[in-house]
Amino acid sequence: FELISDEGYRFDGRKPSELRRVRCNMGVFTQADGSAYIEQGNTKVLAAIYGPHEASNNMRSRVCLDKCFINCEFSQAMFSSAERKKRSRGDRKGKDMSAHIKQTFEAAVRTQLYPRSQIDIYLQVLHSDGSLYCACVNAATLALIDAGIAMKDYVCACSASLTKETSLIDINHVEELAGCAEFSAAIMPKLDQIIYSELNGRIHQDELGQLVDAVTNGCKDIFAVIDRFEVITDNTEIAVSPRSLHS
């Protein structure tokens, strides 16, 4: 079946270079040092940051003397996908995802400022509808900002797929299932650097440039949305963390 209709629209009515609706909220947990919630279409992710704090007992071997290490735990709620999951964490996909997010933020967080400490990133997927990695990275970025942890720049992530020589950005679950190649990347928009990229599936090498451009533009769109959210909340009241924008 076709991912793009003859009129040039996708299944959910978006144009190929259109993002899904993004909604976000910071400071959703009081217990955590930083937290955020993000919705990209139907993909919903909660992020919580603890730290920087002293390494917990089972992580002592990972302590670095000159920088902090990042511990990332990704879990997916059992009810988050169409098929009920048997276990929420610890499966292969979750481990891969944790490792990828950890790598992404090791590149962005200024880890040398927090020697001998640990930063925990906990991610919980409440509803999974494609582009999970991207939603997780965007949520974790907001949560890190909420926690006041020093970063070189925002990290914004976006995914894209390629069909009939058109690149679709921010792909949803149906488009993921269609079996086209999926390309996800995380960039630091103001420094113009790609810090993570992943390609699942095969494409012709001539098409890679187009896909990278599409993803970069998607990330910059995401950045514009998150940035606007930050500015709105910061202008309202600087002493109060933005807890009520979403409601």
């Binding site: 909420d146 020093a150 630091m188 600087i238 963390s241």
Partner: protein
């Protein structure tokens, strides 16, 4: 950039020839960038150096102990060679997950170092102000109380009341009048506050 305006991570604040980078900023390719979200503060330097630019976070930040910094800790375990403690506060911020510290026998006080006995200096549960000597090994920070202003600030006697410092090495329980040895931090006048009635009682006494 305007002073007090809001910045977000990655925002360019100015050239490094224009400003000195302070907290919450970093330098890249000759420019100063913000690394946390917050408001921009500038401090001019009188000695002719470049003005300092730093970012003040909107949120209360977790601090980690720095070498030379003052920490507040709670004694947990004593041996004859050292005292172990939990660092409960760094620069006024409360820690949810405590860092661990260790005070060696030699670092308890500045004079008569070889006569120090840990059991006469601290007891488990005491609240101690200490300075960070070094980051120590991978397990705990190395702390020192070898200054007059450092040492035990709060200690409870056996019946649970806070004891009053008598001398640099002694504290007394106001109820049982029991005296115990401690490495007492010298009370600093700027931290002492008298309740209103006790102040008037003091002046009355002096007039009589």
């Amino acid at each position: 950039m305007e002073e007090n305006s809001i910045c977000i991570p990655g925002e360019r604040l100015g050239s490094s020839e224009q400003y000195q980078p302070g907290k919450g900023t970093y330098v890249r390719h000759g420019f100063v960038f913000a690394s946390i979200a917050g408001s921009i503060k500038k401090e001019s330097d009188k000695s002719g150096n470049l003005p300092l630019i730093h970012v003040q976070s909107i949120h209360t930040k977790q601090h980690i102990p720095q070498i030379g910094g003052i920490v507040i800790c709670k004694m947990t375990q004593l041996t004859s060679a050292f005292a172990k403690c939990k660092i409960i506060s760094v620069q006024g911020s409360n820690h949810t997950a405590a860092f661990r510290g260790i005070i060696r026998k030699e670092d308890v006080r500045a004079t008569n170092r070889d006569k120090v006995e840990i059991y006469k200096s601290f007891r488990p549960g005491d609240i101690v102000v200490a300075r960070v000597l070094s980051l120590g090994d991978a397990l705990c920070y190395l702390l020192s109380t070898a200054e007059n202003e450092l040492g035990v600030v709060v200690a409870l006697s056996e019946n649970g009341t806070a004891m009053i410092p008598l001398a640099h090495d002694q504290m007394q329980c106001p109820i049982t009048l029991l005296k115990q040895f401690r490495k007492v931090a010298r009370p600093q006048s700027k931290h002492i506050s008298f309740p209103e009635n006790s102040k008037s009682a003091l002046t009355n006494e002096s007039t009589v």
